[in-house]
Symmetry: none
Subunit: 364 residues, 2 copies
Amino acid sequence: MTLIPHRTVASQLAVQLRGELAKGTWHGWLPSERVLSRTLQASRNTVRAALGQLKADGLIEPVRGLGNRVIGATHSTPAHDQAKTVGVLIPEPIGRLRPLIALWIDELKDLLVEEGYRLRIHEGRHYYQTNPARALERLIGQHPHSAWVLTLSSEAMQQWFVRRGAPCLVAGSTYPEVTLPHYDLDYRAICRHGAGVLLRLGHRRLALLNRESRRAGDVDSERGFLEGVHRSTHSDATADIAYHRDDVESVARALRPLLDRKNPPTALVVSNSYAYLSTASLLAQRGLRVPQDISLISRDDDPFLGSLVPAPTRYRVDPHTFAKKMLSLLLQVLKRTPALRSPALLLPKFTAGGSTCAPARGEG
Amino acid sequence: MTLIPHRTVASQLAVQLRGELAKGTWHGWLPSERVLSRTLQASRNTVRAALGQLKADGLIEPVRGLGNRVIGATHSTPAHDQAKTVGVLIPEPIGRLRPLIALWIDELKDLLVEEGYRLRIHEGRHYYQTNPARALERLIGQHPHSAWVLTLSSEAMQQWFVRRGAPCLVAGSTYPEVTLPHYDLDYRAICRHGAGVLLRLGHRRLALLNRESRRAGDVDSERGFLEGVHRSTHSDATADIAYHRDDVESVARALRPLLDRKNPPTALVVSNSYAYLSTASLLAQRGLRVPQDISLISRDDDPFLGSLVPAPTRYRVDPHTFAKKMLSLLLQVLKRTPALRSPALLLPKFTAGGSTCAPARGEG
DNA sequence: GCCGCTGGTTCAACAATAGGGCCAGCACTC
DNA sequence: GAGTGCTGGCCCTATTGTTGAACCAGCGGC
C-alpha cells in the first residue's frame, strides 16, 4: 500500500501547476491569481499557497502590480529532482541517546518515508564543539540534504545555521535572538511546576540537578525552577543548582557537596533520565532512601523509568505526538511555506509517582 | 487544465481502498479501522468515512465485534505484484520493548530499505496468546508481506508458522522440533558462564531470576544456569530459580520469598534488563547493598544499565552486528535460498562491573 | 487626477480532519 | 461465568485547511 503524498488542496494544486509549467502551458506570465482561483475552483488564498511553493522552487517570480512571471526554464528545476533527504544531527550514536529521542527520530523517519523523503542520521561530537563552523560547512557540503534537523543543539550550531541560511528545524529550544523554527517540551513550565509540587509537599530546601551543557532547554529549566521557588509564597525556601555531564562520575561529583552539607536538600529535580538512574543508585549507596530521606522528580521521561521502585514522579511525553508535530513543521521547512511560526511548546503530563513525599518532620 | 476530482482525504482514501480491494490485497477481512488509520495516516473518523463509501458500494460489510468483511471478489489471484514488505511481530509497543531490541529492529529497517524492502511492525499481545492461530491467520490475510520476523516468539507461534509454511525468520531461539531459521544470543552459554563467574568468586547460594514466559531463550537460560552450578566442582552450591513477568510487581513477588529465607542467596543472575532495574531498586528499598550484601549479574544488556551505580556485570551485545546477521538470514528467506541452516548463536562479550564481588565472610 | 488591473495581507466563518472517549458485540483465557 | 482485549458504532472537542471577503500598495493606461 502506497500512501497518497499530497493531501491538502494547496499541495495538489502545486503539483498540478508544476506540471502545467513543465508542459509550457504559459509563456511570460501566469494567469492572475484571481483567474487561477476561478479556473482551479479554489480560493485565492489556497492558490496563493500553491504559488508560494513554486516561488520557493524558483519557478515563478511574482511582481506586484503585474503578475507572476514564469522564470526561464533554463535550469530544469534542480531543486525538484534533488535527492529528497533530510539530515538529522545527533551528538552521540543513536544507541546512546535517550530511548525517547531514538523513538521519535525513528517515527519521524517512518513518516518522512511516506512523504517521499529519507532521513539520514549524522552523528558526531565535532558538530557540537564550541566552534563547529568547519565541521558543519564540510558536512553540508558533503551531504546536500533538503533540510536539517538539529537535536540537542548548541548555541554555536544554531547561529551557524542562521548565518548560513540552510533550511533547518531545531528539535529543542532555541537561544534568544536565534530565529529558527523549533519545537520542544516546555522545560521552563515543567521545572516551575516541579518546584511548586515539592513546595506544596512541604519541602523548603530544593535543588535542581541540571546539565552542564547550557543547552537552551537546560537554561529554561533553570529559569523555571528558580521562578517556581522564588515566586512562591514560601520565602524561606531555598533553591540550589548543581551540574552534571550526563555521566555517572559527574553526577556523583555534583551530588556529593549537596549531600555533605549540614542541611542537605530534601528534594531534587533531576534533568536527564540517565542522570536520574545514577542519582537514585548513588543515593542508595549512601544509604539514603527515596522518598523517605529525599524526594526525587525526573524532568525527563523514558520507558525504563517505569521499572524503578519507587516509580519516579515525572513528566511523561508521547514520542508519537512529538514526531507528528516535527513532521508537520519539517514539511513547512521543506516546502518553504512562508508563514512558519514556531508553535506552542509541548507541555508533558505530570505523573505523580512514589519518589516524592512530604519531608521528614523537622526537616522541612 | 483538468481539475483534480477528489479533494478530501476521505475520498482519496476511498479511491485507494477500492484499488486495493480490486487487487485482492486482503482476504476475508480488512485490517481493523484502527490499524488502517495508522497505516494510512489518517484519523479513524476519516477512514470510516472512506469505508462508508465502500460499504455503500456493497464492496465491504462491517460486522460489529469482528471487522469489515470483504464481499465477494474471491480473488484467487493475489500477490501478483506483491509489495516488497517484511512484517515484524512484537508483543508490545516498540517504546516498551527493551531499547536494544528497538535498536536492531530499527537498523534492520534501514538495511532493508537499501534492499528495496519495507519493514512493517505489527504489535499485539494476541499474537502471543496460547492459541494464536486465529489472530495470526487474520494477520497474514490482512498483510501480505513477503516474509515475517518473529521476536520474543512463543512455541505456539513458531509451530503455527511451521504448519502454515509462511516464510519466516525467528529473531530468538527456536523450540525443540521447530525447524525455522533463527538467530539469537547463546543464552545457555551466557547463564552457564554467569554461574561459573559467581562460583569462582566464592558464592554458593545462587539464584536465577528468570522470565516466566517460557520462551525458548529463557528455557535455554535456565538449562545453562543449572548446568553451570551442578556440573561445577562445588557440590555444595545450590541453584534456585524464581520467575517474573517483566513488571515491577512480579519481580517483587519473585524476590520476596528468596530474600526472606534464613539463608538467602548471595548472588543473582537476572534475565531482562528492566527486571534488573527493578531488582536493584527493590534491594535498595530493603536496605541491601550491591555488591556487598548481594551480587548481581544482568543476563541482558541495554544502554541505560551504564548509568547505574555500581555498573552491572553483564553480557554486552552490539545491535549492529545482530541486525546485519538478521538481514543476511532474512534475504535468504526472501529469496528462498535452499540451504538455509541457522548459523551459530551469538556469544556476547562478558563485562565485569561493580555489581559482583566475593560474598561476605561466613556467607559463602 | 481617475480607473482597473496586479500581487500582499489580514480576518472571521466554515468544513474537514485529528484524536480522544465511551459503548455494545464477539472471541478467547482463566 | 467473569474478565480481558479486540472489533465496529457513535460522540465530542480542538486543530487545521479552506473559503470568501475586505483592504492595501504598485503598475499601466486614460
